[in-house]
Symmetry: C2
Subunit: 234 residues, 2 copies
């Protein structure tokens, strides 16, 4: 269920501009190709596990993943999502800080830690790009901390729909595009620090208020983004 053939051609890669590969000049592409390993995962497959030895860094070519933390008693919190062009994996600790699971079929370029370090040495702009990407993720984390600490359930759901609705639709491949969310109510709840029941109740209330429409295949269509903006609190 996990292939390792080099489908992805760096010279035509759709997400090259978004990730650190764009900081590798053309003359370095040969080295880049040999540093990475293309892998595919299906929905629900675990890519890396929290606490496991941190060995690789991943660029997402297509698909969406979730980063989670859990407690022994079953409580789970989704820390964030990563979309095509984004990355996850080793930081500088010896172990992964979160479990990462595929929400859709995912194509990844895996870079073993040592290879990534080699690229950073050879091409300092790679580091710069990684720094820039991390600043992005830190901003997302700050948003989420505010949301979890101070927003009501209704505000959280509205913020989620506004902030992630279209990112998820873009993350879908093939005919699924539009406004399909590859996340269950339970996943939305785990992201927003709520329960599935609360998420469900709020979504149906938003439907009643004609602010959204819920379609088939977990699709949510936003009718009134202005109302959502008002509800979201900021």
């Amino acid at each position: 269920m996990r292939h390792a053939e080099p489908y992805v051609d760096c010279t035509t890669c759709a997400v090259r501009a978004d990730n650190f590969c764009s900081a590798v000049p053309l003359r370095g592409l040969g080295g880049l190709v040999h540093s990475r390993q293309v892998e595919r995962f299906e929905r629900r497959q675990t890519i890396i596990s929290e606490g496991g030895p941190a060995s690789s860094f991943f660029n997402i070519v297509s698909g969406v993943v979730k980063l989670c933390r859990s407690l022994a008693d079953g409580r789970t919190q989704i820390i964030g999502f990563r979309f095509p062009g984004e990355a996850f994996g080793v930081s500088d600790t010896g172990t992964y800080t979160a479990t990462v699971e595929a929400l859709t079929p995912v194509e990844l370029c895996r870079f073993p830690k040592a290879r990534l370090n080699g690229l950073m040495q050879a091409f300092p702009p790679v580091q710069e790009k990684l720094l820039e990407m991390n600043y992005r993720y830190m901003g997302d984390y700050e948003d989420q901390i505010f949301l979890l600490g101070r927003k009501t359930a209704r505000e959280r759901v509205a913020s989620f729909l506004l902030g992630y609705g279209d990112r998820f639709s873009r993350g879908m491949r093939g005919p699924d595009r539009g406004l399909g969310l590859p996340v269950t109510r339970a996943e939305i709840a785990d992201f927003l620090g709520l329960t599935t029941e609360t998420v469900s109740r709020i979504l149906t209330s938003l439907v009643r208020e004609k602010i959204i429409v819920i379609g088939a295949a977990r699709s949510i269509h936003l009718l009134d983004t202005f109302a959502l903006q008002r509800i979201s609190g900021d």
Copy 2:
């Protein structure tokens, strides 16, 4: 109330090893000294403001600061704290993503954006160090997201005391050291996504259970860290 004299001597700086300055070789120290500007702030003073034009990067030489976000309606969330040897300021967006305020008297080295970029160009290890520091902060953020999303009030307070108790005491200068926390109940509440009343109630309950002792000058002494560990949930 805000001095700008170069008190701090890079060659003897106590926090040099912790921040990116350690990535500037001795021969580059001259340039480093000219890139920075030493500043001091008193408790309660605002150092940078959320949304303001992002112009500088700051290394903390001594003291403690808090990073906050607020909504127009007054809701405030402390995103995190930064201690001596840590940093804050520009990311790559044009504006600061959080307001930063001094919790104690603070000594800072301010680096204008352009100067920092210059240092990064001249000394690639500077970038590497910044990347490493950011990974630290991202780990802290992930912890906080889990705490806010899934932990009970009691678990949050216990986690806070365990995780930050000694960091705050170390952050104090002079005779205040020991276990004094330079944070009010309201600040603890703003960090933990609670209210001051709830924090107060939980602290007094922990006192009754002989797990902590509350002394003068906002000091909290941990009697039974094992119990706190158990309460904190992980």
